[in-house]
């Protein structure tokens, strides 16, 4: 299905947010996630089901002022 990941349209096979992170190669990276602008806790990612057209944000620690 087609979803939007960090602002880019992608075709993915994952059915949940947890599967999506694995599919995209995030592995054990430290990231925060949001689905359609709502925060999704790490422990809830397995239950967060994806559907066509969803917008996912995956954010990692970065330099900031």
């Amino acid at each position: 299905m087609q979803i939007r990941i960090n602002g880019e349209e992608r075709e993915v096979a994952a059915a949940t947010l947890e599967e999506l992170l694995a599919e995209l190669g995030y592995g054990d990276q430290l990231v925060g996630t949001a689905l359609n602008l709502d925060f999704v806790r790490a422990k809830d990612r397995a239950d967060a089901r994806l559907k066509q057209g969803d917008a996912v944000e995956i954010l990692a620690p970065k330099q900031g002022g």
Binding site: G27, G32, D38, F39, E57, A60, Q63
Partner: protein, 263 residues
């Protein structure tokens, strides 16, 4: 001198908060944090492609510095974006402090006061300790305190501009109106003299980034800022004299030579 900075019940010896962006290298960032003596550093969350471990290594560097982190919501344009980013930051960094940025104007990066108050109220209710990046507006300050903020962070000038204190009158008025609230000048500081001037106005601390990161020698500039902030704080505590328009001799007039009027 025992004069700690107290923010949300936590005490710090340093009154300099340092941003971690725009340094020439991670090593120079680490050196600059050390030279600054900063006990609090700001940090962000950004998009990163899967497979890259840049975020993890950066986070390791910051943790090794020993400084407390103040995550920000930099770049957020709406209260909703800022709230969601703050929630993500709390989980990733394990910290309920948040530097709340809701940007309202692209050219000046001026904060959106309405989105700021909305986000501050919501985040405070969720248990966040909110550090709002704001203008020096008195009414906005009142609303943010009412929304649960216990610290305020007015700008000196637009982010990254290095212009110094654009509105000293407004900053002085804010200090006078809220004598009990910790006030941190955030954004626009370009030189150590700007930081000293803000501290002489009675500000409690300075948050800066670009002025150090973009200096020719960031670590030395970090040290220069630490000294200027210490000097400005000491000057404020020592109660600066009131300026006058006319001269007043510093040497006593009585007993001067060639005084025809002397008895």
């Amino acid at each position: 001198m025992d004069d700690p900075l107290t923010l949300y019940g936590e005490k710090f010896a340093s009154r300099l908060l340092l941003g971690t962006a725009r340094y020439p290298s991670p090593a120079i960032l680490a050196d600059s944090i050390k030279a600054s003596g900063a006990e609090i550093v700001t940090i962000s969350l950004r998009r990163e492609a899967g497979g890259s471990r840049a975020g993890r290594s950066f986070w390791d560097l910051v943790r090794e510095s020993g400084a407390k982190v103040l995550p920000n919501t930099a770049g957020c344009r709406t209260a909703k974006e800022a709230i969601t980013t703050a929630q993500m930051a709390r989980e990733v960094f394990g910290c309920d402090w948040i530097k709340l940025e809701v940007i309202g104007d692209e050219d000046t990066l001026q904060p959106d006061p309405f989105g700021l108050v909305e986000a501050a109220r919501s985040l405070s209710a969720e248990g966040f300790r909110v550090f709002p990046y704001m203008t020096e507006d008195l009414v906005l300050a009142e609303k943010l305190l009412g929304a649960g903020c216990r610290v305020l962070m007015p700008w000196a000038a637009p982010i990254g501009s290095g212009r110094g204190l654009n509105n000293p009158y407004g900053l002085r008025a804010l200090r006078a109106r809220f004598p009990e609230a910790p006030l941190i000048v955030d954004a626009g500081i370009g030189a150590p003299s700007h930081a000293a001037a803000a501290m002489e106005l009675g500000y409690d601390a300075i948050l800066l980034n670009t002025a150090v990161a973009r200096a020719g020698d960031p670590a030395t500039m970090a040290r220069a800022f630490a000294l200027s902030i210490e000097a400005g704080r000491a000057a404020w505590l020592a109660e600066p004299m009131t300026p006058r328009d006319l001269a007043e001799p510093s040497t006593p007039l009585i007993g001067r030579a060639f005084d025809e009027g002397a008895a």
